[in-house]
């Protein structure tokens, strides 16, 4: 067994063990924390599978944002645990066999699919072939923005729809303050002065290098949102009920930039959704980053907008 394979086996065993821990039904808070650790191991697995883009996305969005949202919801639910209902024992008896069956079926299908040689002129090969002409270095960014841009645009619209839904689900009355610690607490001010600008720096870095190296608008947006969450938790920003015009525009700017560039291509006799060049990629990705960061922060704060918090 080579050292690489050993690492893979350790990660794989870790994945299964952590997932078992999550469903084994202990204290809910601890299960959520274990779930976040599970997400981080998934991120390591992505790195081992040769996909740093996904490793970054999984760590920032999959584990980070999902975990933060789960913890926030847990706090709101006042740690009420589910009462056992009457049919629980019957379901428990069924659960294990069904789960084993599902896992086995997926394993058989997956292993069989591994053995098949796909078509040589696959979409991936075509993407790599078309990449040099675009000026991009990262094929994943190429697929997301240039080759299959509609998927990405609609994905931004999904975020928008979810935000509208979360707004509709807002609990009546003023949103409760979220901050756990005040800015006056020693050390927290120091953390803010260092971490908040650093989040912006890292986000911009991820955005810029995303054209050629792993990174991109989604990862950058998630990092920026983490900075926003920090500001909310320390009370620098306080949730407010109504979304002001600035917030609304910030939420819309990502999909809007994509639509405007994609549609105006037709005015120049080009195919719809074609991007005219690298500048368009950077423009759209910047706009996307802003929208994603603001949307995720709002979803976290479960609020319509933000206002500056008092001291």
């Amino acid at each position: 067994m080579t050292p690489e394979l050993l690492v893979d086996v350790i990660l794989a065993v870790g994945l299964v063990a952590l997932s078992l821990r999550v469903v084994s039904g202990g204290e809910l808070f601890r299960d959520i924390v274990v779930f976040i650790v599970f997400g981080l191991v998934v991120a390591l697995s992505w790195a081992r599978l040769g996909s740093p883009d996904l490793a970054l996305a999984e760590a920032a969005i999959g584990a980070g944002v999902t975990g933060a949202l789960m913890l926030m919801a847990y706090r709101r639910l006042a740690s009420r645990s589910g009462g056992a209902s009457g049919d629980r024992s019957r379901r428990l008896r069924l659960a294990a066999p069904v789960a084993v069956l599902a896992g086995t079926a997926v394993a058989i299908i997956g292993l069989a699919a591994l053995g098949i040689d796909g078509a040589s002129d696959s979409g991936g090969a075509a993407a790599l072939a078309a990449l040099p002409a675009t000026g991009l270095g990262n094929p994943v960014t190429g697929v997301l923005l240039m080759f299959r841009g509609l998927d990405t645009l609609l994905e931004l619209v999904v975020l928008l729809v979810v935000l509208l839904g979360a707004w509709a689900m807002m609990i009546p009355g003023p949103p409760p303050a979220l901050h756990l610690v005040s800015r006056d607490t020693p050390l927290v001010a120091a953390l803010l002065t260092i971490a908040a600008p650093l989040c912006v720096l890292v986000a911009v870095h991820l955005l810029v290098v995303g054209a050629d190296e792993p990174g991109g608008a989604f990862q950058a947006g998630a990092v920026l949102a983490a900075g926003g969450v920090l500001l909310v938790l320390t009370g620098v920003l306080r949730p407010s009920r109504e979304a002001g015009p600035v917030i609304r525009l910030a939420v819309l700017v990502g999909p809007a930039a994509f639509v405007v560039v994609g549609v105006s291509a037709m005015a120049f006799g080009r195919p719809v959704m074609e991007l005219p060049g690298l500048w368009a990629v950077y423009l759209i990705e910047t706009a996307m980053m802003i929208s994603i960061a603001v949307t995720l922060s709002l979803l976290f704060g479960r609020s319509g907008g933000f206002r500056r918090g008092g001291p």
Binding site: A127, V143, A168, L252, L275
Partner: protein
């Protein structure tokens, strides 16, 4: 011109929804209706192009298969687009009369609703397995949001159940998409169909995909979530769900089955799906017959009517395909009419209990007429569109000597007649009298009536409709 029009079908409602986020509710409503009124206009050049030159293809961003996403407007897509456009416009007018701009529901409804239409249009146009996934997620999430817009606990719990099932269904679909991409190297529906080798792996992929999609379309026995969600959704939203949203995932099943799985032996699976459809017809109709509330009755009727679509798989002939397309469209109009009429009755009476509706024939004549006319199409009486759909299915079953299928179709129509007449009878001759009645706005009643009339009138427009459908039959079916 055609490409621009196709792009407009998606981008006009999408941008309208985005701009509506920035406007006060009344202005948003007017803007949304203007945008939705533009959609049928945009459909004309596309329809003409398809009529004269066959399916229209657009490679998005200039990248075609195996890499890029292709929009493909063929007759099946067009008929769905037309039906969506008209239903959406009439439902919007109904909503304008109901979702008062000053209420929270009104503010929430207007940005969401055109985005849902944009997603549905993008779904009908898409010929790409992954793009279909994204659009379907958008449709599902949009629908879940709309169900919960009224903040009614029962509706929100139903929405949550629907959302959890839909998330699971998406995983099935995604896994299948990965298997197909791994084998064929493309996500294009048609190219994947050409490259897909018949075998266990392809069969497993298709099985996974179709299971996921049937879960989302609430086909028996995966229908549990539908009645509670559709029966408790607010005001105009039930009509949107039952007429438009469930059709989206069913449409993908038809696409994948008849255009991608062409080289796969699906005989046994087809019979199985047909049996599921038959059970859905009988179970849904009987359940509708015993409901106590009007909206729940209509919701169970949807479970039954979706079952007819499933009969296409075992029958698989030109007549059946024409019949099912007609049925999809006619059911959409009729069901939207029924739910809008029910919404008016619910608002007028403050409840929709069937036993306490006596006398509404005097006070709400237009709404009851809309319900009855839509009922004519649902039970399949001539000359309605519903009649033609069921008749063609009967013809297809006759040609195959499928006596069992024929019996199910006839029985389903009979029970449908029973539950429609039950509503009419209770509202005219029942014992419990309706209390104070608040007559709904004329616009709300007229939209319901207009939708019901379209469902009937489809029977007269059959010749051009079928001529269009014949220009894009699935491979292996001859006009």
């Amino acid at each position: 011109m055609t490409t621009e029009a196709l792009a407009g079908l998606v981008f006009v409602p999408l941008v309208a929804g985005m701009v509506a986020m920035l406007l006060p509710a009344r202005a948003a409503g007017v803007l949304v209706i203007a945008a939705l009124a533009l959609v049928p206009v945009l459909l004309w050049p596309v329809t003409l192009a398809v009529w004269h030159g066959g399916p229209v293809l657009v490679e998005l961003g200039g990248f075609g298969p195996p890499l890029g996403i292709v929009w493909r407007a063929d007759p099946l897509a067009l008929s769905m687009l037309w039906f969506t456009a008209l239903v959406a416009l009439l439902v919007s007018l109904h909503a304008l009369a109901g979702f008062r701009p000053e209420t929270a529901e009104g503010r929430r409804f207007w940005p969401q609703w055109p985005i849902l239409i944009a997603a549905i249009n993008a779904l009908y146009l898409s010929a790409d397995l992954f793009n279909l996934y994204v659009t379907l997620e958008l449709v599902t999430l949009g629908a879940v949001v709309l169900i919960s817009v009224g903040s009614k606990s029962v509706a929100m719990i139903a929405a949550m159940r629907y959302l959890l099932l839909a998330l699971m269904a998406s995983l099935f679909y995604l896994l299948a998409t990965a298997l197909i991409y791994g084998q064929t190297g493309t996500l294009d529906l048609y190219l994947a169909g050409e490259r897909l080798q018949d075998g266990t792996l392809a069969a497993a992929a298709l099985m996974l995909m179709i299971t996921g999609l049937l879960l989302k379309s609430a086909i028996f026995p995966l229908h549990m979530w539908l009645p509670a969600a559709h029966g408790n959704a607010p005001w105009s939203v039930s009509a949107i769900l039952s007429a438009l949203v469930v059709k989206a995932s069913l449409y993908i099943v038809l696409r994948v089955w008849f255009w991608t799985a062409v080289g796969i032996d699906t005989q046994m699976a087809a019979t199985f799906l047909g049996v599921l459809g038959a059970i859905a017809i009988l179970y849904g109709s009987l359940a509708a017959l015993v409901q106590e509330r009007l909206k729940m009755l209509i919701a169970y009727s949807t479970v039954a009517q979706l079952g007819y679509v499933m009969l296409l798989f075992p029958l698989a002939s030109t007549a059946a395909f024409r019949g099912v397309t007609m049925h999809l469209v006619a059911h959409g109009f009729a069901k939207a009419a029924m739910f809008l009429a029910a919404a008016n009755i619910l608002r007028a009476l403050g409840h929709d209990r069937l036993r306490r509706m006596t006398g509404i024939d005097q006070k709400l004549p237009i709404d009851l007429a809309a319900f009855a006319l839509a009922g004519v199409s649902i039970m399949g009486l001539p000359p309605s569109g519903g009649f033609l759909g069921k008749w063609l299915l009967l013809e297809a079953a006759w040609a195959r000597s499928g006596w069992g299928w024929m019996a199910v179709i006839v029985l389903g129509s009979l029970i449908a007649a029973a539950y429609v007449f039950r509503v009419a009878a209770l509202s005219m001759f029942g014992s419990g009298r309706a209390g104070r009645v608040e007559v709904p706005r004329t616009l709300a009643s007229m939209t319901a009536l207009a939708l019901a009339l379209v469902a009937i009138a489809l029977g007269f427009a059959a010749a051009p409709f079928f001529a269009l459908i014949d220009r894009g039959l699935p491979p292996g079916m001859l006009p």
